[in-house]
């Protein structure tokens, strides 16, 4: 099946799940245009708002309608309502600055090539052209923690908690860890039909996005083979010549492009002796540290939230279990010492409300993204890292998730027909994502831009001639975004046509 982590599967009869990735927003608009994806059957349905239930029975419900949200926040704090405008403006500016960088070929700061230097200077110049205010935000965004960053604008704890959540997605960091503010922006740049920071569901699940891209590719003449696992990348005196499939078929090619992570590309599909020692060291040092899990539920009815009883528009958006900053931070603390969060952060969506085609009439599917679930569980006795413990911890983890939800929607336990629990170990096994990291490697400062994935090799090329990288492990990183693939394609065409 196509799509990698963006797949739709009928896990239980009649219930279709976006098994791993579940929302679409980072997909670059130019890609949607260039490949004419709507014509190929991709349809994005807006996912309106985020509802965060609170322990005291209240809730915080942010929607795309700025003024509605403003009024809602004012219920909690007038000051924050005003700050929300300022914050929104600031983030848009940040996005304006960062976006061109997403599509940029990372320069090599250590090369003596003046062009690299000029590229760096061009960023510096654009930085200079920003207003004082925005410059500061930009720097802080790169280095501060999500909470510290938000603290500058807001006082309402639940608001900061639920906003900071997007700063930790897919990282092994807490909302108070420096560097998480950047991921805020990474997710803030979500864009549907040009509308800033709106998230969307794909009709028919995220798999439909993959299929649309596939169909576009086929139309352009690409040949796609599924169920064709690669065993090795063939090289001949330092040059890639093709691949060998697990079934033994040998496919010759004038160039090979790998969209899987560096660990698989260079350590599994190749013999490290074919590569420079320094490069191999970099590949081994590259951090994955999967920290998230996924729980997919087939529901007999809709969950009933104590804070907003009954059905309603609040269920059509995302529902976030992120009641307080401490709750988020404590969830992280559990993970730091090698346990899954007893009370995890959960981001839920119920696609069947927006797209009935994914569940039988009257029934529903609910997708729960969960953090933290550290790939490296530790043996309580010895403290040694034991990912395989996940095989006995899977259901306990699933229960922790359900319990956390039940605190706010007590009926959840009675309406579950089926439950699918994906641990980082499962994500690794199923999707070939090393250590279950959904971004093919952490989005931390030392693994971004010209440092992603390996210092000196951030320009989609590899030490092997005619072997290239195009996955999330390359700049600008993960999310259903397509940017690494497009950047890589541009780069490869340029190199090959030389």
């Amino acid at each position: 099946m196509l799509g990698g982590a963006a797949v739709t599967e009928e896990v239980f009869p009649g219930f279709k799940f976006s098994v791993a990735s579940y929302v679409v927003s980072l997909l670059r608009p130019e890609i949607i245009r260039d490949l004419d994806l709507p014509r190929h059957g991709m349809e994005l349905l807006p996912l309106d708002g985020t509802m965060t239930p609170m322990p005291n029975g209240d809730y915080l419900w942010r929607v795309n309608d700025h003024y509605k949200t403003r009024r809602e926040i004012a219920r909690h704090s007038r000051l924050d309502a005003e700050a929300y405008d300022e914050y929104g403006k600031a983030m848009v500016e940040m996005g304006r600055f960062a976006k061109p960088i997403l599509g940029m070929l990372p320069p090599d700061p250590t090369s003596l090539d003046p062009r690299g230097l000029l590229e760096m200077l061009s960023i510096g110049k654009r930085f200079r052209d920003m207003r004082f205010h925005d410059r500061l935000n930009q720097v802080q965004l790169l280095t501060m923690s999500a909470v510290d960053f938000l603290d500058q604008w807001f006082e309402t704890d639940v608001l900061k908690a639920t906003m900071s959540a997007s700063g930790i997605i897919g990282t092994f960091l807490g909302v108070r860890s420096p560097g998480t503010a950047y991921v805020l922006l990474h997710h803030y740049m979500g864009e549907i039909d040009g509308a800033f920071r709106s998230w969307g569901l794909s009709r028919g699940g995220t798999g439909a996005v993959s299929n649309a891209i596939a169909s576009a590719a086929r139309e352009y003449g690409a040949e796609i083979r599924t169920e064709a696992p690669v065993a090795r990348i063939l090289t001949k005196n330092g040059r890639a010549t093709g691949v060998v499939l697990e079934n033994g078929d040998e496919l010759a090619a004038s160039l090979v492009v790998s969209s899987v992570d560096p660990n698989l590309t260079f350590l599994k599909f190749m013999d490290e002796r074919e590569l420079p020692a320094e490069f191999v060291e970099g590949v081994k040092r590259y951090k994955y540290r999967g920290s998230s899990g996924k729980v997919n539920l087939a529901l007999d009815a809709l969950p009933n939230f104590t804070c907003l009883p009954g059905p309603g528009p609040h269920l059509r958006g995302a529902i976030s279990i992120s009641p307080s900053v401490d709750y988020m931070e404590q969830a992280y603390d559990d993970a730091k010492y090698g346990e899954f969060s007893r009370r995890p952060y959960i981001d839920m969506v119920i696609p069947s409300l927006t797209d009935p085609s994914v569940a039988p009439p009257g029934k529903h599917v609910m997708s729960c993204f969960v953090q933290y679930a550290p790939y490296d569980l530790r043996d309580p006795a010895t403290g040694s890292r034991e990912p395989l413990r996940w095989d006995d911890q899977r259901e306990a983890f699933g229960d922790a998730v359900i319990n956390a939800i039940a605190d706010y929607a007590p009926n959840i336990k009675d309406i579950i027909l089926h439950r699918q629990v994906l641990t980082p170990l499962d994500i690794e096994r199923t999707f070939g994502l090393t250590e279950g990291n959904i971004f093919q490697g952490e989005l931390t400062l030392e693994q971004l831009f010209f440092l992603r994935p390996v210092p000196g090799w951030a320009r989609y090329a590899t030490p092997i001639d005619r072997l290239y990288m195009c996955g999330s492990a390359t700049h600008p990183g993960g999310g259903i975004m397509g940017a690494p693939g497009k950047n890589a394609a541009d780069r490869i065409l340029k190199l090959v046509s030389r």
Binding site: F132, L173, R176, K336
Partner: protein, 530 residues
């Protein structure tokens, strides 16, 4: 008092705060021929570099027990060796105790350290010299940045451009591997940084401690790598290498005071500044707590940015955005200080006398420090803090009565803001936590205690004017460093007000008591005034 101000006439510069940086700045200004007045609210100058009599005959370094170390250009330019500054051997940097009798000693000479390490880990013994060499090279590069004023982003001067090219050149001249290390290590978590080169947990924790010292960071916090690099940079600028100021920070302060007097600085101690007087967006002098106003062409603040702009200046004179940013300047102290007077030398498992003559760290592994940090996140102090202590009486018996000793301990983490209760109610509990932790390494120590002093971040704020009790005048994070310390656009010791300058740790490089901020600022201010 008002009479005094008129009789003293008009000063070229008034320096607020007689800490290491304030003294350095004042001395340099006076040496450059400017009429300089230094105001210190405490009874003696030195700021955090001071000592006190804990109990009859027991002299302890009240706060800091090790200088930054002092920067070589400060020592040379102010000729501190002519003003009583002497040095002692510091080839033994520090030691770590595991508690079970196992120890690690870090020497100035990496090869010597490696020899000792080979007893625990051949791998570390081999990796250590290379690791230190990289740290040194990178440290030397950053040191080059320390000695210059950060460039202006809007109108870079020719000097800025030159300094920038210099740095770029220095960067290029690093081995390629170290160029990448510099770029990776800065934003990294120090735990990851050391784990790349070192496998022994005790050694990891001992090195990683430099990354979190005084900060609201745990070893697993991204960005803690920067502080480790800054420590390396400080070392690269120390004078002379491998030696430290004899008599500790207080001795350094005394030498700087003599230098000030020698160059004609007028020093007034026990004098609290109430307000910086501002007229038409220009600092024109200060008003003292007792009401006297003193005029000057310029005011140089050695106190932290928050105190300078939010307490000493009237808000009306400053741009709202600037004030908002300064309010959000992060300086949440996490360091506590415990001083002990001991009736005899405590027996630390495995510690030799040589080790006790230097700094000693107590942190068995990285997670121990991280757990200590976790408490701070939730507004509690660590029941089991990580500790660095010295025993000055081991090298200098005059610090304590015959056979008796003094012990000076830094302990982290103790957050400035406690969630439950306040520091006045929790001070002793913190002291107990520190003593109990010490007792796990030196079981008999409790019974030796003659007197004990516990200083919380609140005490640091009350007694030394450190806002939030932050010993570095603000977190040394990437967004509060270099051209952004304390704030982007004001990294060059200037402020929104003409005639008002910064020279404290809250300005570049701001890496502790090195005199670096003071001397850098003084050079620019002297140029600006003459």
């Amino acid at each position: 008092m008002a009479a005094v101000s008129t009789t003293t006439g008009r000063y070229d510069a008034i320096v607020i705060g007689g800490g290491i940086n304030g003294l350095t700045c004042a001395a340099h200004l006076a040496k450059s021929g400017l009429r300089t007045l230094l105001l210190e609210q405490r009874a003696q100058v030195g700021g955090c570099a001071t000592e006190s009599e804990l109990a009859p005959g027991f002299i302890v370094p009240t706060l800091s027990h090790a200088t930054g170390p002092l920067r070589s250009d400060v020592v040379e330019e102010l000729q501190l060796y002519l003003h009583g500054l002497t040095f002692t051997d510091a080839s033994l940097q520090l030691s770590a105790l595991a508690g079970d009798g196992r120890t690690i000693t870090l020497w100035d000479d990496a090869r010597r350290t490696a020899q000792g390490l080979s007893a625990w880990s051949q791998k570390d013994a081999q990796a250590w010299p290379a690791f230190q060499a990289s740290l040194q090279k990178i440290g030397a590069l950053i040191a080059g940045v320390f000695i210059n004023t950060p460039p202006s982003i809007d109108q870079p001067s020719s000097r800025d451009a030159f300094a920038l090219l210099q740095t770029l050149g220095a960067f290029r001249s690093l081995p390629k591997a170290d160029q990448w290390r510099l770029l990776r290590w800065g934003p990294m978590a120090v735990a990851d940084l050391v784990s790349e080169s070192v496998e022994d947990e005790l050694l990891r924790a001992t090195v990683a401690a430099d990354g979190v010292f005084g900060a609201m960071l745990g070893p697993w916090s991204a960005g803690s790598g920067l502080q480790l690099l800054l420590t390396a940079a400080n070392r690269a600028l120390a004078w002379p290498a491998g030696r430290v100021v004899a008599g500790g920070p207080a001795a350094a302060a005394r030498a700087l005071q003599r230098a000030c007097e020698r160059y004609g600085v007028e020093i007034r101690t026990g004098t609290t500044v109430h307000r910086i007087d501002i007229k038409d967006d220009r600092a024109i002098g200060v008003t003292l707590a007792e009401g006297a106003a003193i005029e000057a062409r310029s005011v140089v603040s050695g106190v932290d940015p928050k105190r300078t702009f939010l307490t000493l200046c009237d808000a009306e004179h400053l741009p709202p955005e600037f004030l908002w940013r300064i309010r959000n300047y992060r300086m949440r102290g996490t360091l506590a200080k415990v001083n002990l007077a001991l009736s005899a030398l405590p027996q630390f498992a495995g510690a030799t006398r040589d080790m006790l003559a230097g700094r000693i760290r107590l942190a068995p592994d990285i997670d121990y420090i991280e757990r200590a940090f976790d408490h701070a996140k939730y507004g509690r102090f660590s029941p089991q803090p990580w500790i660095e202590f010295t025993m000055p009486s081991v090298t200098d018996p005059s610090c304590a009565p015959q056979g008796a000793h003094v012990l000076s301990a830094y302990a982290q983490f103790a957050p400035y803001t406690l969630r439950d209760g306040d520091w006045d109610a929790s001070r002793d509990a913190l002291g107990d936590a520190v003593v109990n932790t010490l007792a796990r390494y030196a079981p008999g120590i409790t019974s030796l205690i003659v007197a004990r002093e516990t200083l919380t971040p609140l005490d640091l704020e009350r007694g030394w004017g450190l806002t939030g009790g932050h010993i570095f005048h603000g977190e040394l994070a990437l967004d509060q460093f270099f051209a952004m310390r304390p704030l982007l656009g004001y990294g060059n010791y200037t402020t929104p007000l003409r005639g008002l300058f910064l020279c404290g740790n809250g300005s570049h490089p701001g890496t502790g008591m090195t005199g670096g901020s003071g001397i850098n600022a003084a050079r620019d201010i002297a140029r600006a005034l003459s």
